[in-house]
Structure formats: structure tokens, C-alpha cells
């Protein structure tokens, strides 16, 4: 059996495994026991006084009442002092060592009172001797086994001392008069036997008490450790979960990185955290997200992935713990770390499908801050973070690629425009007869050619529109209040002639109120949306049909409906409707020409203005496009 039962050992052991400032269970028990003993002692002191009085006045015994009253009062007085000290300790939230000191003083004073009490109530003949057993058991609960046995031996020595001194009349025997008919303090054999059994009882009590206490303490330590492990595990799981949610809730690279460093620092309960990513050369590790470090420290110098020992180690896939920044041979900038107040750090690789692409690092101010458990936890955070960072990196790459592609389309369509435009002009010159008379057949061919080039022009314009929208993200953000009603009216008016030619009735349904239905968008964009939808409706509606436009407001949204009695959209074409260059078979059949970009542009523009579009259609019956936008409630001037 090891001497684990000292509360100071226990508290030291427990507090080394945890860093929260609240008391452990064992310490809490010591604190409450001190209070409890003080509480009991009021009764003990009062009990001495009361017992003396009763012995004297009820049973008519003849005790040394004065000293006994003084002892009782003395107990009350020192207990009052203990009480005041205990209250101060509690108020100041004193460390458990102070409580332990207080407990020791209580035992010492109690034993002095005890031995005086025995001496003044008959020495070896005193019935109070049995009380010593209580004290020995109480001491065995508080102190280590050896100390408890030492206390027991002291008690035996004190009692034996009194017996010895009284036996040889060195001190005065003070019996309680009328209690014993024949005193035995002079009976050597009896006293020896008495002392032997007292000693035996005292030592066994101390041994049993401390043994039982020991076992209970050990169990308690186990329970405390387990519950603290559980507590830590719970905190870490929560932290990991928070991390996962924080970093995967966005695809924006900057946000992912910043969230990762801040949540990691919190989860690890450390001062700082950084992410460094390999740059495009694959050599330099650039800090891309920082939490809790100074600018000076960050600018300490470059980190070369090929020569920096720590970086090499981590990028090879290992989690590296540096227990002391000043002692580690791996560190390139130990002096800077010292100035920053950083003493230990832990680094884990951020790994993607093509190997490590960066380093996640946590920094602590304490030496040897990271345990094996911390290491595993940190590795888990890094693994989780890697996925989020890689996703965000991929997303960024795709976005850039999409922009590059759009820019490319923009450039080539732009380049295509001028030759097409010139060809158109040339053909018009021929058709108009400015280059001499052409035969009817030649005229037919020229007109066909002009028509085809015109279509090409339109295709190029549409493509350019689409690519411009995607390439020019800044332009998307420039919005202003636009009146839907006047824009729609203007668009419908534009189609009056072509509808009339096809004998299509154009109907416009607006509420009675002069409401404009204002949304935040660009006027050209809204015009384009309505233009394409109305043009389609007229294009794919046979003669004698009807096209109707309607605006209404529902809740805080403007709902625009453009419906026709046209050829409709086949069920199987519905999923492809907004795809670039897609045209439904019945649409191709009815109208040879069409770029298949009109609805793509519509959808793209509506997305830009955070609107929605829905389609209802039945083949040979008609189609209904329903567009909705959030109504603008502000007061900026409206462009019409």
C-alpha cells in the first residue's frame, strides 16, 4: 500500500491532471470536514461544561469542577477562533493547503484539551479516555496511515504517561469523587492490562480507519479521474463538432481558414493558432489565417518547406509536438517565439488527395502544454479541417476557372463580332443593289446568306451577354431600384407589331393601383428578362393565339406571369429548359432558328437579382412562366 492518503498528495495528483481552478472531490471533502468538525466541537465544549455540572449537581459527584469548566470554556474559545479562520478561508476561496493546516491545528489543540480533561477527571480511571478512540479515528480520516498511527501512539504515550506519573505520585491524582469505590490507579497489574488493551484498540482503530479511508480515497480518485476524462472527452467532441460545423458551413476560402484557426484555438484552449499553405511554387509556406499572434511574429521570416526542419517533418504527414520552443532543434525562429511568449507548439499537416498542402499549428504559452491526448485530438481537427479547406480551395479553383472560361468566351465572341458585322454590311450592299443588278436566284441566295449571318450575330450577342454576366462579378453587385410594371409595359409594346402580324392577342393584366412593383436590379437586365420571355411566348404561339402578361404582389414579393396558348413544352424537355443551347424538339420544328440561349440568359439574370423562375406547361395547350422578385421597400429613386 502506498501512502496516497494525504490530502495534499491527492490534491497534487488531481490538480496535475487538470487545469480548472475548482476543487477536486477530495479537496472539497476536506473543506467540508473542517467545517463539520468545528460544528461538532461546539457540542463537545458545551458537553464538557454540561457534564461537569450534571455530575456535580445531579449525581452529587465531587469533580475538580473549576479546571473542567475552564477546559470546556477553552474548547469553546479556540473553536471560535477556528470558526473565524474557517470563515475567512471560505470567503477568500483559500487553497486546500490552508484547510489542511487548520485541520492539523484542530487535532493538536483537541488532544491537549483531551489530555487535560483526562487528567482532571481521574487520569487512568477517567471514563473520558474512551473519547480518544474518536479522535484517533477522525485523525485517520484526515491524514496518511503513518501519521494516523503516530497520532495513536502519541495518545497511548499520553495516557500511559499520566498513569505512570500518577502511579508514582509525581502528579496529583484527581479522581471524580464518588465515582469509584476503590481507585485502581495504584494497581500496577490492572493499569498495565488497561494500558495494553487501550494501546491495542488505539492502534487497530488507527490502522482500520486509515485503511478504509485509503480504499475509499483511491476509488474516489478513480471516479474523479474518470469523470474528468469524460468531461474532457465531451468538451473535445463538442469542440470537434463545432469546428466541423463552422468550417463546412461555407465554401468561401478566407472564411473557412479564419473559422478553422479561431475554433481550433478555442477547442485546444490555447493562445494562438495559424494555418500556413504551400504557395504555387510548392516551396514557401505562407500564413493565410492567424488567430492570436502579433504581426511582428508573423513577419519573423520566410518558412521554406524544403529547408525548415519542422515544416519538412509535418509535411511528411506527422503531427509534431514541440514541448519547449527554446530547446527544440527543429525550430527555425526560437528567439522570436520566446519574445512572442510562446513556449510550446503543436503542428499537424493539412492533407488533401495529392498529399500535404499546408500546416495547422497551435501555440501555447506554457512549456509542455500538449499531451498525447491533445496530439490525437489536434490530428482529428486537422484531418477535418483539411477536408473543408480542400473543398474551399477546389471551389475557388472552379470559380476562377469559370471566370477564365467566361473571359475567354467574351474575348472570342467579341473578336467574332466585327467580321460578322462586316459580312452583314457587305451582303446588305449587294441585296440593296449598290453593286449592280443581281438575278432573282442570286437575290434569293444573298437574302438567305444575310439571314443566316443575322442569326449568327444574335448568337454572338447572346453568348457575349451570358459570358459578361459570369465574368464580371463586380457588375452584378451594381443594382438600383427598377419599376417592373413600366418595364414590362415597354417590352410588350415593343412586340405589338409582330404579335399583330401573327394575329396574336396581347393581354396585360395589372392591379388597379398605380403600384410600380419596384425591385433591386439593373434596368437592362429586367428588360432583357421580360423581352426574352415575351418574345418566346409570341414565337411559339401559333396564329390566333393569345399571350398575356400579369403583375401582382404577394406578401413582399412581386410575381410576374407570362403565359401563352402556344405549343407548350414536352415533359421530357422540362429538365433541360435552362441549359445552354438546349431547344425542345417541338420548338425546333416550329421555328428553325433559335440560339437556345434565351432562357439560359433569363435564368442567369434572375439568379443575379435573387429572384426565382418557375414553369408550367402542357404540350399543345400553352406555357406559363412565373417570375418572382423581392419587392424593394427603400426610398431610392426609381429608374424606369
Amino acid at each position: 500500500m502506498t501512502g496516497l492518503s494525504s490530502p495534499s498528495d491527492l490534491s497534487a495528483q488531481l490538480s496535475s491532471s487538470t487545469d480548472h481552478p475548482t476543487r477536486t472531490l477530495v479537496e472539497a471533502e476536506l473543506v467540508s470536514s473542517v467545517a463539520w468538525l468545528i460544528h461538532l466541537r461546539w457540542f463537545a465544549g458545551a458537553g464538557v461544561i454540561l457534564a461537569t455540572w450534571i455530575a456535580e449537581n445531579v449525581f452529587g459527584l465531587d469533580a475538580a469542577e473549576k479546571p473542567l469548566y475552564v477546559i470546556g470554556a477553552g474548547i469553546l474559545v479556540y473553536n471560535l477562533i477556528f470558526h473565524l479562520i474557517e470563515r475567512r478561508l471560505t470567503q477568500n476561496d483559500a487553497p486546500s493547503q490552508s484547510y489542511e493546516r487548520l485541520a492539523k491545528w484542530q487535532v493538536i489543540l483537541d488532544w491537549i484539551a483531551m489530555i487535560l480533561l483526562i487528567q482532571f477527571s481521574g487520569g487512568i480511571e477517567s471514563p473520558v479516555i474512551l473519547f480518544f478512540i474518536f479522535h484517533i479515528i477522525i485523525a485517520s480520516f484526515f491524514f496518511s496511515r503513518s501519521l494516523a498511527i503516530a497520532f495513536a501512539l502519541t495518545a497511548i504515550g499520553l495516557v500511559a504517561g499520566i498513569a505512570f506519573l500518577e502511579y508514582f505520585n509525581i502528579i496529583q491524582h484527581r479522581p471524580i469523587g464518588g465515582l469509584l469505590e476503590t481507585p485502581f490507579y495504584q494497581n500496577a497489574k490492572y493499569v498495565a492490562a488497561y494500558l495494553f488493551f487501550f494501546a491495542f484498540t488505539a492502534v487497530v482503530s488507527a490502522y482500520l480507519g486509515s485503511t478504509i479511508n485509503d480504499r475509499l480515497r483511491k476509488r474516489e480518485i478513480e471516479i474523479v479521474n474518470l469523470s474528468e476524462d469524460l468531461h474532457r472527452a465531451t468538451i473535445r467532441l463538442q469542440a470537434l463538432n463545432n469546428n466541423a460545423r463552422a468550417v463546412s458551413s461555407t465554401l468561401d476560402l478566407k472564411q473557412v481558414l479564419n473559422r478553422l484557426v479561431s475554433t481550433t484555438a478555442l477547442a485546444m484552449q490555447v493562445r494562438a493558432c495559424t494555418i500556413r499553405l504551400l504557395d504555387s511554387t510548392g516551396r514557401n509556406l505562407e500564413p493565410v489565417a492567424v488567430y492570436g499572434l502579433s504581426e511582428t511574429y508573423l513577419k519573423k521570416g520566410p518558412i521554406d518547406a524544403l529547408t525548415n526542419l519542422l515544416a519538412r517533418e509535418v509535411l511528411s504527414g506527422k503531427v509534431v509536438n514541440i514541448p519547449d520552443a527554446l530547446e527544440s532543434p527543429l525550430l527555425q525562429y526560437p528567439e522570436e517565439a520566446k519574445q512572442e511568449g510562446i513556449r510550446s507548439m503543436i503542428s499537424a499537416p493539412l492533407t488533401g488527395k495529392d498529399g500535404a498542402f499546408g500546416i495547422l499549428r497551435a501555440y501555447a504559452v506554457e512549456v509542455n502544454r500538449f499531451s498525447q491526448e491533445d496530439k490525437e485530438f489536434f490530428e482529428a481537427i486537422a484531418a477535418q479541417g483539411s477536408i473543408a479547406v480542400e473543398n474551399a480551395l477546389s471551389y475557388k479553383a472552379i470559380e476562377e476557372l469559370d471566370q477564365t472560361k467566361s473571359q475567354f468566351i467574351r474575348t472570342i465572341t467579341h473578336e467574332l463580332r466585327s467580321p460578322v458585322a462586316v459580312t452583314q454590311s457587305l451582303l446588305r450592299t449587294l441585296v440593296s443593289g449598290f453593286a449592280g443588278q443581281v438575278t432573282d436566284q442570286q437575290m434569293d441566295i444573298l437574302k438567305r446568306a444575310a439571314h443566316r449571318v443575322e442569326f449568327l450575330q444574335k448568337l454572338i450577342d447572346d453568348l457575349l451577354d451570358l459570358a459578361t454576366g459570369k465574368a464580371n462579378v463586380e457588375a452584378l453587385k451594381q443594382r438600383e431600384p427598377v419599376g417592373l410594371k413600366s418595364t414590362l409595359q415597354k417590352v410588350v409594346e415593343r412586340f405589338n407589331v409582330s404579335a399583330h402580324e401573327k394575329s396574336i392577342r396581347l393581354e396585360q393584366i395589372y392591379p388597379e393601383s398605380p403600384e410600380e412593383f419596384i425591385v433591386m436590379a439593373s434596368p437592362d437586365g429586367i428588360d432583357r428578362i421580360f423581352n426574352n420571355l415575351v418574345a418566346n411566348a409570341i414565337k411559339y404561339t401559333p396564329s390566333g393565339g393569345e399571350v398575356s402578361t400579369r403583375i401582382e404582389s404577394v406578401d413582399s414579393e412581386a410575381i410576374i406571369t407570362i403565359s401563352d396558348t402556344g405549343i407548350g413544352i414536352p415533359q421530357e424537355s422540362m429538365p433541360h429548359l435552362f441549359e445552354e443551347f438546349y431547344r425542345a424538339p417541338n420548338a425546333k420544328e416550329m421555328e428553325r432558328e433559335g440560339t437556345g440561349l434565351g432562357l439560359t440568359i433569363v435564368k442567369d439574370l434572375i439568379n443575379r437579382y435573387s429572384g426565382r423562375i418557375a414553369v408550367q406547361s402542357e404540350e399543345n395547350r400553352g406555357t406559363k412562366f412565373i417570375v418572382s422578385f423581392a419587392l424593394y421597400k427603400g426610398t431610392r429613386e426609381v429608374s424606369k
Binding site: 436566284q441 434569293d444 441566295i445 438567305r448 446568306a449 443566316r452 424538339p585 425546333k588
Partner: protein
């Protein structure tokens, strides 16, 4: 000697015109069909000496299917008697699909390809190679 008959199968009227004019001026009799279906009907009706066929019509491979049907090696084929009618296939498919096609007796029974845009001289040379003046 009878005028040789050529059937043009193409859904684009402008494209048909650009084929018709040079061929007519070279003395061939020209018939037109706007789809594969119409093409097959016309084959039976007019019994052409040669067919000029567009690949992409209502579907991206409609022309191929028509060619396969006409030149089917199946002895019970409905178009058995036309299996020797030469087919010139018009294609721009090289530029719009990643597929590569070559005349292949087993796979694609057409005699030759002409790339769009069609050069009238190339067209006439190829037609003369197959059916003469």
C-alpha cells in the same frame, strides 16, 4: 442516256440550295428530303443513283442511321435493292463532337465524307467519281 438522279437529304433549306445549284448545273436531276424518314420514302419512290446525306438532322446521328438502314448487309433488308446506291455524307461533326468517324464497311456503310462548308468543286468531283457525268 437518262439523267442521273441525286437525292439530297438535309434539314437545312439553305444547305440544300447550295448543293442543288452546282449539281443541277452539272446536269443531274435533284430531289430533296427534309428528314431521314422523308429520305427513305423518296429512295423507294425515285430510286436515286446517289444520295447526299447530312449527319445531324433531328438527332445528332440521324444521317448515320439512314445510311445503316439503306446499306444493311441483312439479306432480308427492306432496302436490299438500294444497298449499292453510293452515299456521300456531309459532316461538320469533326468539330462539334469528340467522336471521329471514318468510312468503314462494317460500321458505317457510306462511300465518302464531305466536310461542311461544302466546296462545290469538291462535291462535283466526288459525285462524278461515283456515278459519272
Amino acid at each position: 442516256m437518262n439523267q442521273k438522279k441525286i437525292l439530297l437529304v438535309d434539314d437545312d433549306p439553305d444547305q440544300r440550295l447550295t448543293l442543288r445549284l452546282p449539281l443541277e448545273s452539272a446536269g443531274y436531276e435533284i430531289f430533296e428530303a427534309k428528314s431521314s424518314k422523308e429520305g427513305l420514302e423518296m429512295v423507294e419512290k425515285i430510286r436515286p443513283d446517289l444520295i447526299v446525306l447530312d449527319v445531324m438532322m433531328d438527332t445528332a446521328t440521324a444521317g448515320f442511321q439512314l445510311a445503316l438502314e439503306l446499306h444493311s448487309p441483312d439479306p432480308n433488308s427492306a432496302y436490299k435493292e438500294f444497298s449499292k446506291v453510293p452515299i456521300i455524307m456531309l459532316t461538320a461533326i469533326h468539330s462539334t463532337t469528340p467522336l471521329r468517324f471514318k468510312p468503314d464497311e462494317d460500321y458505317l456503310p457510306v462511300q465518302t465524307f464531305i466536310e461542311k462548308p461544302v466546296d462545290p468543286d469538291v462535291l462535283l468531283t466526288k459525285v462524278r467519281d461515283f456515278i459519272g457525268e
